[in-house]
Structure formats: structure tokens, C-alpha cells
Symmetry: C2
């Protein structure tokens, strides 16, 4: 048997036929054209599901479930998008509309949660029962899966670990708070810090790697300069890892999951990142080494995690 | 039917006969004498259970379960105390030993979790499915109950919300970290801050209320001075509530429970405390009012919560 996973993004609707192990066997995508009315977008999702099935040479009888990951606050029980700021969706019953055109069980979930669930069932989380995925990208995203249940709070607006404060009265965050973990530990934060430093110290290798244009600074340039023993990159990375580790130890002291898996662009630094963080965590929690039963890992599925997780939502515990 | 709840403390072992609604019908306690070998202490617990049953005029046939709340890291599945710093217990199989003398189901749980569970089943948490209890006393304690499951992490050392950092690089905490919520928001923190202020400004009403002895300052004196418009008390309370609210919004953004209930000495300030915190939370999260679907409450069972919760552990979802 197969299932269909859909990742509804602001730019594209990506979909795939997924086998029962969580492997993608066939993929396709269409533009979202998000300015449209939600019903048109949802009808396109239904159409994409049907083409995926047909083009892979299957019949809908062989599809046991369809799952859709959507941005925003999602009510999986009701199959509704409660609110999604980058789509014009508000209290939108997308499952009901899809169900009129698709005759198998349909699951709706927040896209970050779907991605975490993908890693949980078919990626690095496979061997763990409780698992927190932290995505370090434009912001800090988080998905929490415990004993095969996606945890997102009583009203589906929890699990916003990026918006827990680690530096009270610190830098303002677009969420309205000051000093959020997000503001210090996202890829955006690393780039921001590197720009400030390079403006002051253009002799840093980071400036050279950016083609002498600070607007082109990317996280990988900072790490490259760090590996080449650039003292400015060293200081930037040191401060960045310090903040990142503080938030990660907060996650451990809160959830103490079997594993935390890091995803997003920064996680491409794999072993470098894990070593830096593990060292900082040990210095951070000192003697409380028992907390470190939690393993730190790197996500495995990259951008496919969301589609795979959406396709596997039917495996969630009720 | 009845059950027996036991709260094993460093000074006393308190126990009660609890009815199926979670009401205490009969109470007794004995000294712990914690310097003794664990087997002697556990044998005293068994003896206390038997006397409670007998003295209330029941037979063990009428007791459907015994529950014990213990300090430290507890493994409820194995019925063991993994570690308890204020008792000389280390990987101690207390359920097995009790089971030799008591022929009904026995449940072991961490004492803070048992107290949170007491509030969940028989106190302020009765009407909520997901619930976080925050005890503001010597430290900040926390207990998390979601859908009738006590949440304490994969290795029973999670849910330590007091030891999440809210002020990175802030004051050192005995746990080894710097800037823990605990260090800014416990009753101890409020007293510490008041002492510093009164040392500098003995004209504060707090000094008068302490009998001109700063060592006697208690939280209620700070609140009393605040109500009498003492400007020093006003500033102390303002800063204290600011830190407390930052941690509470972190809890909301993490768990988004239906309710957070505050317990411990500071919670005696009831309405004053709730009003101050609610006002601060609104200014803290600004427009993100949706998070505030979480209700803020005051615990109802006081010191009985632990005994009641222990007695009701048999009602937990497996």
C-alpha cells in the first residue's frame, strides 16, 4: 500500500507517492499561486493527488491515506487551517473540501510538525520514542513527537520553542517579545551578527568569502572562515553556539526527549555543529550530566521530511 | 472504594485515606528519620498504610490502590527511586519492597508530579485536560499533566521548568546553569531582592514589617508594603512579576496548556498575583493574544495536593 504526502508552501505545492516504509517513490509539484481563493488552491491539491496516483501507474484503491502539511495554526481533529499568515487562509475547512473529491482518509497537520513526524517515522527519529526536531533556518522551528503523538498544545499554538525567551529584555523579536531564542540562534541571527562584525573588521576572511559584499554573507562562509582559524569567525561562532546551546538545554530540561535532531541550513555543518554544541552543553549544564541522556542528532531527510511526514500521518497514535 | 496516598518527605511521612473523588477522609503522619537505611523507611510506610486502614475502620479489601510520592528522580514503571538527594536513596526498588507487605496495586511517582496530579484530578485542574502546575516556593517546581498522563521526559528527569534559562549569563543557579527562571522567580528570589533593597533603603515599610530585621523578611511583607503603596515594594514586585511572567509565557509558548495553576507560598497572594501577572503577560506577548487561551489559576489543595495525588495515581492513563 501507498500514501500521498503533500507539502503546501507559499510558492509551491509539493507532493509525492510514499510507500509504507516512508520512502518517496514518485514526486511532483505545482505552483501555489497563493493570491488565489483557498478553494482553488485546495482543488489544485486534489488534482495533484490524482495526477500523482495516475502518473505513477496506481489506482486510488492502493492509496490508504492522504496527508497535507500546511503552514500556520492547524486543527488536525477538525481538518481546518485556523490561521496561516502567508496564505489567505482563516478557519478554512480544507479537509472537508478535499474529502469531496478524494475517497480515502485525509490528515491535515502543521508543516513543521509534519516534517518532524517524517524524521520520527522514516529519518533520524526512527529509533527513538520521544523526539524534538529543531529547524535552524530563517527562524527556529520546532516539532515535538512523543510516543507517536505530535505535541502542539491544547489549541495547536504551542511547541513554539523559538519564541521562548532566553535573554529577558534582550533584542526585540517580531513575535512581540524580547530576547527570544529565535532572535539569537536562527541562521538569520548568525548572518546578522557576522554582518555587524565584518562591517567593523573587513580584514575577516568572511568578507573575502562574501565576495567583498556583506549582503552576500551566508552561514557556511562563517563556518568556512572558522575552519580556517579566522579569529572574527571564531568569536561569532562561539557566541552563536553559546546561545543555541542555552536553548537546547532548556529543551532538555523541559522535555528530556530521547533525542533532539537539528535540521535546516545550519545543520549542514553536521559534525562540526554537533561537536561545538555538545562541548558547550557540557560546560553549560556542568555536573547535571544525567540530563545528557538526550542524544543530539542531525536530521536526515532534508526538504523531503515534510512530504514524507504528511504521507505518514495515518500512522499517528489517535 | 478508597485508596491510600503517601507523601514521603525529608522530615515526615504523611499519609491519608482518600475516597474515589479525591477527598481525604482520614490522615496520619510519622517522622521520616531520613538518616536510616531505606528498607527501614519503606517498612514504616507499609506500617503507616496498615494503620491508616485499620484506624479508619476499613479492611485492606476496600483499598484499591496505594500511591507514594517521593522526592527525586522516580521511575514509575519500575517503581524505583532512581535518585533522591535529600534521602539516601539510590536506585531503590521501593515498590517491590512495599509489595511484599501490601497486596494491592502500588504506584510510585515524583512528589511534585503527584501534587500536580492531585490538583489535576481533585483540585483546580479538574475541569482541564492539559495542565501545568507551577509551585513558587523555595524554588520553582513544576508538574505537567496532559490528557491524564504525567509528563516527565524519557528518563524521568524532564519537566524541570525552573531550570530553563530566561536570562542567559545571568545569576548562577545551584543547578550549574546561569540565569535560570528559578533564580529570579522563586519565593527565595523575592526575599533576596527585598533584602538587598531594604539594606539600602531602610525607610521602606518592608523593614518595619520585618520587625526591623531584614533576616525576617517574608514575601507576604513585601506584598503588604506594596498594597500600602511603599515605592520600594512597588519596584521589587514589578521586577519580580516581570521575570515570573517571562517564564510563564515560555511555558505557554511551549505547552500551551488549557491552564497553568500557581501554587506554593507566593500563591497565597491569589487575586493580587493573578492580576499582576495577567497584566504583565499581556504587555509581554503584545498582539499574540491567541496564546492567552491558556487560563491562569491558583492551586486549591495546598499541602494536601501531594497526598491526594499519590492516592489517585491509579487513575492515570497507562
Amino acid at each position: 500500500m501507498y500514501s500521498i504526502g503533500i507539502d503546501l508552501g507559499g510558492t509551491n505545492i509539493a507532493g509525492a507517492v510514499v510507500d509504507s516504509q516512508g520512502d518517496i517513490v514518485f514526486k511532483a509539484s505545482i505552483p501555489t499561486r497563493r493570491e488565489r481563493h483557498w478553494e482553488e488552491i485546495v482543488d489544485d491539491i486534489a488534482q495533484l493527488v490524482k495526477s500523482l496516483v495516475k502518473d505513477y501507474g496506481l489506482h486510488m484503491r492502493k492509496i490508504q491515506a492522504v496527508g497535507v502539511g500546511c503552514p500556520g495554526i492547524i486543527d488536525p481533529q477538525k481538518g481546518r487551517v485556523v490561521f496561516a499568515s502567508n496564505l489567505a487562509f482563516e478557519d478554512t475547512p480544507i479537509r472537508d473540501r478535499l474529502q469531496k473529491k478524494i475517497k480515502c482518509p485525509i490528515y491535515i497537520e502543521n508543516d513543521a510538525n509534519a516534517a518532524a513526524y517524517g524524521e520520527y517515522v522514516a529519518g533520524i527519529g526512527k529509533d527513538y520514542d520521544s523526539f524534538v526536531a529543531i529547524t535552524i533556518g530563517t527562524g527556529i522551528g520546532s516539532g515535538i513527537v512523543i510516543d507517536n503523538i505530535i505535541f502542539s498544545g491544547a489549541y495547536h499554538g504551542g511547541a513554539e520553542l523559538g519564541h521562548t525567551v532566553i535573554r529577558a529584555d534582550g533584542r526585540p523579536c517580531p513575535c512581540g517579545r524580547r530576547g527570544c531564542w529565535d532572535i539569537y540562534s536562527s541562521a538569520t541571527a548568525l548572518i546578522h551578527e557576522a554582518k555587524q562584525v565584518v562591517k567593523k573588521y573587513p580584514e575577516s576572511l568572511i568578507y573575502e568569502f562574501s565576495g567583498n559584499n556583506i549582503e552576500h554573507i551566508r552561514p557556511e562562509m562563517v563556518f568556512k572562515a572558522y575552519h580556517q582559524k579566522d579569529p572574527y569567525a571564531y568569536e561569532i561562532i562561539k557566541g552563536y553556539i553559546h546561545n543555541l546551546a542555552i536553548g537546547l538545554v532548556n529543551v532538555i530540561n523541559t522535555f528530556q526527549p530521547e533525542a533532539i535532531a537539528l535540521g535546516g541550513g545550519i545543520s549542514n555543518q553536521k559534525e562540526t555543529l554537533l561537536q561545538l554544541i555538545n562541548k558547550e552543553i557540557y560546560s553549560e549544564i556542568g555536573k547535571a550530566a544525567s540530563s545528557m541522556q538526550t542524544k543530539l542528532e542531525i536530521c536526515q531527510l532534508g526538504n523531503d521530511a515534510g512530504i514524507i511526514g504528511a504521507g505518514m500521518l495515518y500512522k499517528l497514535r489517535e
